[in-house]
């Protein structure tokens, strides 16, 4: 999935708003320091580990580290924060050279992170809200913006009015952020009404399918329901299935987060799922690794890096062939091609490792 | 106890029973199966609550709501079902002092050393050789019964109830128990003793109460009655011929066992059973009869030796193979092994013959019902209908069900292991009639029992088993009760 990272799409450099250091620090360190960057052992401490999104993210991390000649150990936590804290402690004990954190939690990890800092282990986190701890670079996917993108598109395509179904569940930080946008959206468009809301994280796809079927039966007339907004792609898959199988093709589905699997469904012209917003999971991994290597190199890295979400609509996708997220950058500007965090010496490192 | 009544699910088990015991007497409580003896005693010991009636002890009226209430009043009980009162995976010591541990007044902290010492003392006083640290699950049935008696004697009781304590005990052990009972009596303790063995009842007890159908029929001093009178009172009629023996022609051998060894208790058994022949195997408890029957039925693995049915050598790796070879077993522990208490009589009776009443695997409900109704009327099973749940039948009728299920298989050999254990005289006679009929049909019968009189009355041949092998064979009429006892205990004494 990372095969075309080099195809540096010019339009994608814009998002890195507050990271001047990313390119600035690409000063000409000698190749000896490039040598010293090889053979790093890196721990990836994750909270979730199922689903295609996570799998692609892990893939991104692994491939990028491999390009730098390092090795990754994944410490997965089954969505259990106490296990995640234990995993972080264990990573510190094992004296990894660097630690990547995925979907962490400030309260749960503060202790472990302080230990890591004390042990001099650099940390880069993704979507963890660790900004209050000094010295950690936080990558953040702007969840509110993700939600806004899809909701605005929904409003636009619906003409600012209609009945919608929300599939959402609380209890997860990204979900709760997305809810904030949703609330604002409902206030902004008084003519858009929520007629049903449900969601179950433990059985996302089938449960959504079954429950949406009930809602469809409750509103049997075409036009009763304008759209379904799914705050998570796992919900969107179930929603799309239910609508498709019920033959209610007038209802559109808008989702958030995009994996290869989802892309397939969005491309399918018979699928009601028309749009999603996401940050490419693979490039999240890639960028996170780059910043970690900047830290290895002793660069001053910014405390916060915003990963700008990309909006993917079916209209932008090719009709004649099936693509994967790896090819998506050709059609959707800003996707998968982020050169964020890259530096000259890192490129050098890549070629040096690749040469062997 | 006065005017005690108790019903189970609307069916009366006790109807206004009056009963009293005095301190320092042994009072026998007799009655046919299901007469309500155990139920009455369970009410006295607080295991059941009475529906009506009143209990007085030491002049004070009590409402026993739980076993601890009646224990507080000094009433202790050894229940008929031994395993219900023991905790298998705990030590003998703990089982002996279970009541103390259970009592809210006991010590909060447990000293294991002291507990074992005290248990040793109790066991020694009774002359029992059981290690207090053994787990009860590793004991034999009679040892378990003795542990319960030890528990009793560790208590300061005013009244003691023994519900069929002698059923699993050997003669020696029974003697030991009687010694203990006499001791209790001379300490001024009132003993209630339930047994189906009339001779021992007549020997040990001071007064006798007979119950029938949930009512008290009579209470007399021992001297005022003989065993005939008791039987008459129990059944409501006289019981002329105790063991009716039907004559049958004896034919070819159907079961031939040679040098059979299985487990620790069957050590080289040779025997032969012929068509129409009733062969009794007698022996004391622990002689290995049950193990022999289980080995013959494939229920336990056979270590060495051969078994042939109708001259054909039979491979007995499982009961299913034994059934195919033509052997049927009526096991000793009926509720655990013989019947399905939660299922209907109908389903119980058809288990071994499901193949016969089905075609291509589909059961014929009609044939199943016909079969059941036939057995119910032939064997005189007392049940409200074939669909009655077996749990609600009395013990004797449950035993008839356990026998009845085999009658329509084409078994050639029937093995009965203590089929009359805990069965009243009426049901016993029915069972003997069934066995006699089977013999007349040319079946071979192997009848294992520790009741020598039954063997003497019923069998064509009697084999005496001792410590895992057959030590003597008698033809009908050759042996007396004493002969059997001599051989049954001989080897054991030699070894000792």
């Amino acid at each position: 999935a990372c095969g075309n990272k080099e195809k540096n799409n010019a339009s994608s450099s814009a998002p890195a708003s507050d990271t001047p250091s990313a390119s600035a620090s690409a000063s000409s360190d000698g190749s000896s320091s490039v040598e010293s960057l090889k053979g790093k052992k890196i721990a990836l401490v994750m909270r979730f580990n199922t689903g295609t999104f996570s799998a692609q993210y892990v893939d991104g991390v692994k491939k990028q580290v491999a390009k730098y000649g390092g090795e990754v150990t994944v410490l997965a936590s089954d969505n259990d924060l106490s296990k995640m804290a234990a995993n972080l402690d264990s990573a510190v004990n094992q004296k990894f050279d660097g630690i990547l954190v995925d979907h962490g939690d400030l309260a749960a990890l503060t202790n472990g992170l302080n230990n890591a800092k004390a042990a001099g282990i650099p940390i880069v986190a993704f979507d963890s809200g660790l900004n209050s701890i000094e010295g950690i670079t936080n990558l953040a996917q702007n969840d509110q913006q993700l939600a806004e993108f899809t909701l605005e598109k929904l409003a636009e395509e619906a003409g600012g009015k209609g009945n919608i179904v929300k599939v959402w569940v609380a209890g997860f930080p990204p979900m709760e952020s997305r809810q904030i946008s949703y609330k604002a959206f409902i206030e902004k468009y008084p003519e858009i009404k929520e007629i049903a809301a449900f969601g179950d994280a433990s059985n996302p796809q089938l449960d959504t399918q079954n429950k949406l079927e009930a809602v469809l039966k409750q509103h049997p007339k075409k036009g009763d329901i304008t759209a379904v907004w799914a705050a998570w792609d796992e919900f969107a898959k179930g929603a799309a299935n239910a609508i498709k199988q019920a033959g209610r093709d007038e209802i559109k589905v808008y989702g958030i987060d995009l994996s290869d699997e989802d892309l397939k469904m969005i491309q399918d012209p018979t699928s009601p799922w028309v749009a999603s917003a996401a940050v490419d999971p693979t490039s999240i991994g890639t960028v996170q690794v780059r910043f970690l290597y900047q830290k290895f190199n002793g660069d001053a890295t910014p405390p916060e890096v915003q990963l700008e979400p990309v909006f993917v609509h079916r209209d932008a996708l090719p009709k004649d062939k099936v693509i994967t997220t790896a090819d998506l950058s050709q059609y959707v500007p800003g996707w998968g091609s982020s050169d964020l965090g890259n530096t000259e010496y890192l490129k050098e490192l890549e070629t040096s490792v690749g040469a062997k | 106890m006065s005017k005690i009544s108790k019903s189970f699910a609307g069916v009366p088990a006790l109807k206004g029973v009056d009963f009293n015991v005095r301190g320092g007497e042994i009072h026998a409580l007799l009655g046919a199966n299901g007469a309500g003896k155990s139920t009455l005693m369970k009410i006295l010991s607080g295991a059941y609550e009475t529906d009506e009636g009143n209990i007085e002890a030491g002049g004070v009226s009590h409402a026993f709501r739980s076993p601890s209430d009646s224990k507080a009043a000094g009433i202790h009980c050894v229940y008929q079902e031994v395993d219900t009162s023991l905790v298998a995976h705990l030590t003998v010591s703990e089982n002996i002092f279970l009541d103390n541990l259970a009592s809210p007044k006991g010590k909060a902290w447990l000293s294991w050393g002291k507990l074992h010492d005290e248990a040793s003392a109790v066991l020694e006083r009774l002359g029992l050789h059981i290690s207090p640290r053994t787990l009860v699950r590793d004991l034999t049935l009679s040892e378990k019964q003795l542990v319960l008696i030890a528990r009793l004697s560790a208590q300061k009781a005013k009244f003691v109830i023994l519900d069929e304590p002698t059923a699993p005990l050997s003669l020696e052990e029974t003697e030991k128990l009687f010694g203990i009972m006499q001791g209790l009596k001379s300490d001024g303790i009132g003993v209630i003793f339930i047994s189906h063995r009339l001779p021992e009842v007549l020997r040990i007890s001071d007064r006798i109460t007979v119950m029938r159908d949930g009512e008290r029929v009579l209470t007399v001093r021992k001297e005022e009655i003989d065993s005939q009178g008791i039987v008459k009172a129990m059944l409501g009629r006289s019981f002329e011929e105790e063991f009716p023996k039907l004559q049958a022609d004896i034919g070819k051998p159907v079961l031939t066992v040679a040098r059979l060894e299985a487990g620790k208790r069957v050590r080289g058994v040779d025997l032969e059973v012929r068509q129409g022949e009733i062969v009794a195997v007698v022996g004391l408890v622990g002689a290995g009869k049950t193990e022999l029957s289980r080995a013959l039925f494939g229920a336990d693995p056979i270590d060495r030796g051969t078994v042939a049915v109708n001259g054909k050598s039979a491979k007995l790796a499982s009961p299913a193979e034994a059934v195919r070879a033509g052997i049927a077993l009526v096991p000793e522990e009926r509720r655990k092994e013989g019947i399905f208490v939660r299922e209907s009589v109908l389903h119980n009776l058809s288990v071994p013959v499901l193949r016969a009443i089905s075609r291509l695997g589909i059961l014929s409900g009609k044939r199943e019902r016909e079969l059941a109704n036939r057995q119910i009327s032939d064997l005189g099973i007392k049940t409200s209908s074939a669909t009655q749940q077996t749990a609600f039948l009395s013990g004797g009728n449950q035993q008839k069900v356990a026998i009845g299920k085999w009658l329509e298989t084409d078994a050639d050999v029937f093995v009965f292991d203590e089929p009359t254990k805990g069965v009243d005289v009426g049901a016993k006679r029915d069972i003997f009639r069934i066995i006699g009929t089977l013999a007349q049909q040319g079946k071979g019968i192997l009848y294992l029992t520790c009741e020598f009189d039954e063997a003497l009355g019923l069998a064509d041949r009697i084999l005496v088993m001792c410590d895992g092998s057959i030590v003597k064979s008698f033809n009908r009429g050759e042996a007396t009760h004493e002969d059997l006892l001599k051989f049954a205990s001989a080897v054991r004494e030699e070894l000792a």
């Binding site: 179930g238 | 009961p319 019947i339 399905f340 288990v351 071994p352 499901l354």
Partner: protein, 328 residues
Amino acid sequence: MRKHLLPFSFKYGALLFIGLVILFFSLYNQYFFTYSNLTDILRSISIVTFVAIGVTISLLVDGFDLSVSATVSLSTVITASLMVWYEMPLVVVLIVPIAVGALIGLINSLLIVKIRIPDLLATLSVMYLVNGIHKNYTAGYSVYSHMPMPDGSTAPGEMSKAFLWIGQGKLLGIPFPVVLMVVAVAAVHVFFKYTRWGRQMIMTGGNEEAARLSGVKVKKIRMYAYVASGIFASIGGILFASRIGSGQIDAGAPMLMESVAAVFVGYSVFAAGRPNIIGTFFGAILMGVLVNGLTMMNVKYYQTDIVKGLVLIVALAVTFIHLNRRKA
């Protein structure tokens, strides 16, 4: 005969309750009691019902199969991968997961019957094992048509139309999974009520030792029960894949608790107080009706669990109060 005196209200109480629930939802929402919604409900419970049949069978021989959820997950990804990765014909796609389900049942029964590990312990261990295997098989990815493979290529196959029809198609206007489910329930019910082997299973569950001493091959019987349980769970997995059109990781995880809930509600049906297939079916229906109806009422998602719990408690309480009163 007690049985005939059994108060009507107890014997048919559970059914009455289901009826009342349906009536309530029908009055509340005009669209609830429509042919298409009712068939939707039945379709929505079809997967759980298959799993629950397996659980019922294991309970009937006095065991308990906790590994069913893992079997569903494994069967789902195997089914999908056979089409997507290997482009196998439909027969193979259907037979292989069923064989795998049977194999899991065999492993369970080996542990339980041969090594004599208690049922709960054995099937829990197998649950862990199979859960690990299914994730390992796909390296944590879900399986879907033309998915990208780890080596960068694209998977050659896709979920076949014929296969998807199993979960999504209709036969004479009835969703096919519903047809399958009803046939399965009827067949299993007949099996237990009218066949020799079914009766032997029930007797084995009632008293294993007595069954053995009656000549029933109890080890085999228990083995068959676990194999059947594995097979029904794997059919559940196949239906799952065909219903959602892909093989999701951990798809079966919620199935254990849901199917067990259906089975336990089933204890109340006809006041049986024990596992029974018809009860299980009605248990699944009740759960399906509740989810559908409560969704239509727009009850918050976190409140449906409370309702489910209360319904279970009430159903069981009524049944057991009654059964125990009868016994005492």
